[in-house]
């Protein structure tokens, strides 16, 4: 694998100007066009959070308990990374199709396309993430717990991004050759949230929650929420995190292999 990765990285370094230019283009186009401007970055998370609040209010009502602020915060903390995953996944997969029009006319390292999609998704996350962090610091009686384990969050986000990018590469490459793959991806993006502990948490779902942990995103989101609200990762979560990390590595490797094997055909299928 090492020998295969090195030239990929070297080409990207040679073309870093292009990577930045394409990322800048994606960001610029997104924020320039919309009347809402920067609101774009947290439009999706805010909608998700509102949905989560509705679900949590409903749950509290049925249990005849008051709504807990910690649960609302938990939804917020899960929603931003989940939005990052979905944005990376869909932008990588769709960006590949859009970028190939260009790649059939001009040569540049093809890996630039998914990388720039990922970078612009990360840019969105940085905006929504900073606003979220600000909120956690400012709201009265914030459930945020200061602990060293907060430093783990970037690592968890890297695993989450790797899963999104790997899956995006597989779907994106497949979509170039089989044009209806994008419908499957569309369904994943649309309904994925019901199979991921974002609006409802693993411990609120009982037996079903344990099954949900097989979704490789679930341990990451549970761990992030646990770190922010309880100051650490639950001990039972560690094996699941290892599983999630393994899936991230496998998806990333598979994505790169699929991409590497098919990229020279991209210009021909267009």
């Amino acid at each position: 694998m090492g020998t295969a990765v090195l030239p990929i990285v070297k080409e990207v370094v040679d073309y870093k100007e292009l990577l930045l230019a394409l990322t800048y283009r994606d960001i610029r186009v997104k924020y320039k066009q919309a009347v809402m401007g920067m609101l774009w970055a947290f439009f999706l998370p805010v909608m998700g959070i509102l949905a989560g609040v509705v679900v949590q209010v409903g749950l509290a009502f049925m249990k005849q308990e008051p709504l807990q602020l910690a649960n609302v915060v938990s939804v917020m903390v899960r929603m931003a990374p989940y939005a990052l995953f979905i944005t990376i996944l869909s932008q990588t997969a769709n960006g590949l199709l859009a970028g190939m029009g260009l790649a059939s006319k001009i040569y540049f390292p093809r890996q630039i396309i998914p990388l720039s999609s990922t970078l612009s998704a990360i840019f969105d996350f940085l905006i929504s993430g900073s606003i979220l962090a600000l909120l956690l610091l400012l709201i009265p009686q914030s459930p945020l717990v200061w602990s060293w384990s907060l430093l783990l969050i970037p690592l968890l986000l890297v695993l989450l991004a790797a899963q999104g990018l790997g899956l995006g590469l597989i779907f994106g490459s497949a979509n170039l050759f089989l044009r209806d793959v994008k419908y499957i991806l569309g369904m994943l993006v649309q309904f994925g949230i019901f199979f991921t502990p974002v609006l409802l948490f693993v411990d609120q779902l009982g037996e079903l929650g344990q099954w949900m942990l097989w979704n490789p995103l679930a341990p990451l989101l549970e761990a992030i929420a646990g770190i922010v609200i309880h100051g650490g990762v639950a001990p039972t979560m560690w094996p699941w995190l290892a599983y999630s990390a393994a899936v991230a590595v496998v998806l990333m490797a598979a994505g790169m292999i699929v991409f590497r094997k098919t990229e020279h055909l991209f210009a021909e299928v267009m």
């Binding site: 073309y15 100007e17 292009l18 930045l20 230019a21 394409l22 800048y24 283009r25 610029r28 186009v29 320039k32 066009q33 029009g101 260009l102 790649a103 059939s104 006319k105 001009i106 040569y107 540049f108 050759f177 089989l178 044009r179 209806d180 793959v181 499957i184 020279h264 210009a267 021909e268 299928v269």
Partner: protein
């Protein structure tokens, strides 16, 4: 450091055509059929877009590539620019290469002209600093100063093409691949592009140039390769290559006629022209006209029935398709006989106004009350003129004289 800029050794490129599964909806049933042993319903044929093509270009030289549509010209350039890979064979590029395959390919509609300059420049491999240094020159060349802060989607197609060419033309490549892009914009801009290409050539870069505009190929490339059905059928001096190319076109046309014209009902038209001969002043048949001498065309006009005031028309165009003039017997005051039979007709072009080059002559017979086209030659005849190099499309013939000494006038007195 080798002195070859490009070396191509026997490359082959295969493409698939026909129906192959490009969706799961088709793939899954076909896979199932294959599992139970039935042959899937698909017909994929493969064809070779390039077959065993080899050539070399010295550093600082330029090579033209011409050929009929579908001959593999663009495939060759895409291969050289690494967009696609050959199935067999190798090639080597020595130097920084950039390709002008489609101008403005990387434009984003929502970005302004200036933003697109930076984006497109980066796609073409320029650094931000390079682009900054050339930004003014690019805007100036493209002549889009007023619209530079306008999104490209509001540009006219000509402006877009000009901007695209200007960006690409201001990179500093060592090897430049150009595909058909010098045909953008109006005549003035095209001229500017060609002049810019000459400047790049003089600065010592290597150019591979594809065009259907043969005059451009002639003016930019001393050497030209002719591709036909993916094969290199000729590589040599551009004038010879163009002749070979026209021959290839003729053969293709004849084959097409043979294949598709065969089952037409053989109704003999009222008139026909046969036995076209090009002659010199002594009446000897020649293959090309000499510049400065009269040009003579002879042909047999056969009338099977009276058509009413018949006339023969010869339309002259350059091989690149520029219409030059028409020699029409009746219009020029030489009415032709209307009796059925075969008449030998001679037209003398005196003085012949054509500079050296290749021309295409279209023969037609007109006649009747409405002056209808009674007969047209299925394909034009090709004719070369040699020995009178001149710029432009018309041979300038005339006299210059020095008349008498003019009394010297001092500039100072006038002012």
């Amino acid at each position: 450091m080798t002195d070859k800029a490009i070396q191509v050794n026997g490359v082959w490129k295969r493409f698939r055509k026909g129906e192959f599964e490009d969706s799961l909806r088709e793939l899954v049933p076909n896979l199932l059929k294959r599992c139970i042993g039935r042959s899937p319903s698909r017909r994929v044929t493969e064809f070779w877009a390039l077959q065993d093509v080899s050539f070399e270009i010295e550093r600082g030289q330029s090579l033209g590539i011409i050929g009929p549509n579908g001959a593999g010209k663009s495939t060759m350039l895409k291969l050289l620019s690494r967009i696609i890979r050959p199935n067999r064979g190798t090639y080597q590029i020595n130097g920084r290469l950039s390709a002008l395959i489609e101008v403005g390919a990387g434009f984003h509609q929502d970005l302004t002209g200036r933003e697109n300059i930076y984006l497109n420049g980066a796609i073409l491999g320029m650094t931000r600093r390079d682009i900054k240094a050339k930004e003014e020159a690019i805007i100036d060349f493209a002549d889009v100063e007023e619209f530079i802060h306008t999104p490209v989607k509001r540009y006219s197609s000509g402006m877009r093409a000009r901007l695209g060419f200007a960006i690409a033309a201001h990179m500093d490549p060592e090897i430049l691949l150009v595909d058909e892009v010098l045909s953008v914009g109006d005549a003035r801009f095209r001229d500017k592009c060609v002049r810019h290409m000459h400047k790049l050539l003089r600065s010592g870069i290597t150019v591979v140039f594809i065009s259907h505009i043969l005059d451009q190929v002639r003016s930019l490339c001393p050497q030209t390769m002719v591709l036909n059905h993916g094969k290199n059928v000729f590589l040599g001096k551009t004038d010879d290559a163009i002749r070979k190319y026209l021959e290839v076109l003729d053969t293709a046309e004849a084959a097409h006629q043979a294949a598709h014209g065969g089952n037409k009902p053989a109704v003999a038209s009222a008139a026909e022209i046969r036995n076209v001969r090009f002659c010199d002043v002594e009446g000897r048949e020649v293959l090309e006209w000499r510049g400065g001498e009269p040009g003579i065309v002879e042909c047999d006009l056969t009338l099977r029935q009276p058509v009413g005031n018949p006339t023969v028309q010869i339309n002259f165009t350059t091989v690149s398709g520029l219409y030059l003039t028409t020699a029409d017997a009746r219009y020029m005051g030489y009415p032709l006989p209307d009796e059925p039979g075969t008449h030998r007709v001679r037209f003398t072009f005196d003085p012949m106004p054509l500079p050296a080059g290749d021309y295409s002559l279209e023969f037609k017979v007109y006649g009747g009350d409405d002056n209808e086209c009674v007969w047209a030659m299925p394909q034009p005849r090709l004719l070369s003129v040699r020995g009178c190099d001149a710029n432009g499309v018309v041979l300038c013939q005339g006299r210059w004289e020095v008349l008498e000494p003019v009394a010297a006038q001092h500039d100072g007195e006038r002012r």
